[in-house]
Symmetry: C2
Subunit: 210 residues, 2 copies
Amino acid sequence: MQEFFTEDIQQLNKLVRASFINSLGGFKSLVLVGTRNSNKQENLAPFSSLFHIGANPALCGLIVRPDEVPRHTLSNILETQEYTVNHVNEGMYFKAHQSSARYASEDSEFESVELSPEYKHGIMAPFVKESAVQFACKLEQKIDLEINGTILIIGKIIYVNIPDNSLCADGFIDIEAAGTLTLSGLDSYHSTTRLARLSYAKPGSWPKEI
Amino acid sequence: MQEFFTEDIQQLNKLVRASFINSLGGFKSLVLVGTRNSNKQENLAPFSSLFHIGANPALCGLIVRPDEVPRHTLSNILETQEYTVNHVNEGMYFKAHQSSARYASEDSEFESVELSPEYKHGIMAPFVKESAVQFACKLEQKIDLEINGTILIIGKIIYVNIPDNSLCADGFIDIEAAGTLTLSGLDSYHSTTRLARLSYAKPGSWPKEI
């Protein structure tokens, strides 16, 4: 085994440290966030910091760095209060990765990486047509994390689109069957293989496969 | 495809909605958080809401519900300012799942689910010996998310333990090789298969496998 203490982490080269710390938190949600500004200029950017906050109301969080590539994502969300979240599958992960490049403001990442914007149900932000699992959020709260200047965006889920037959009777969505990938570190893409679903845990007996 | 709007989500049965919304955010980090109170009573609980906040300083976030099973996790972190984060592998995921059961306050989940507490380097909180990837955090900030009563715990990473040969020269930690699993929904456990690591994205050329 290899051990690292606070000083060892601080002394790492900046890019090495970014990759190291980003790997450490485990596998991550990998999504494309679609937005549009009030001039209808589209933006698309990959995020790996989406997390669950609550189911009632249905809320999710997203960490945004004001100084990195997806900066248009932040300004567009603040301007229009809406964004879409789109899962990434094997047929499009090169394109999803490429959407993190620093394209000029006037370029749409959709066009640059050859993904298709999809508009529906009066939602202003573009979905990614190639994504099997899509949802839309309305901005509920913006919290500045003063500890490092990042921003927590809290969104309420207002629309969900999932493939036929992916929803189980108990509410579970089989995102593996839908082809959703996961990310580790900054740039490592993985498919998944289910080991099991386990029954609700109670003291005194072991969980069963369900 | 199947579509759901705000009202459809609200009308779902409470348990169905929890599973549905928890599935929607994509694959999740799956970790065991180890803590101890000032009387040295140990606690262990699974979390799927760990996320990256920044690399310099090395910060991660964790969403805690004050009213659910891992409530001892929260009170212990606030009491001692320290906690450990331990990846879950195939040899222990039944035990990790079982640690979410509502054990009595005086019971240690370590003992109940047959995982081994490990103490080292003067860190007060217990690590999980069976975990190949382990790290320790010092509490930096607690933010109450008034929107639904959950709590964001921000920790600074003060110690890291990873397996030999899992660290690449560029800082990437191969957590797949280390056996780390991922979770979808509330109870679905998955192993992973790397498709590729992709080179840093730049406008004008497609990324390459690295």
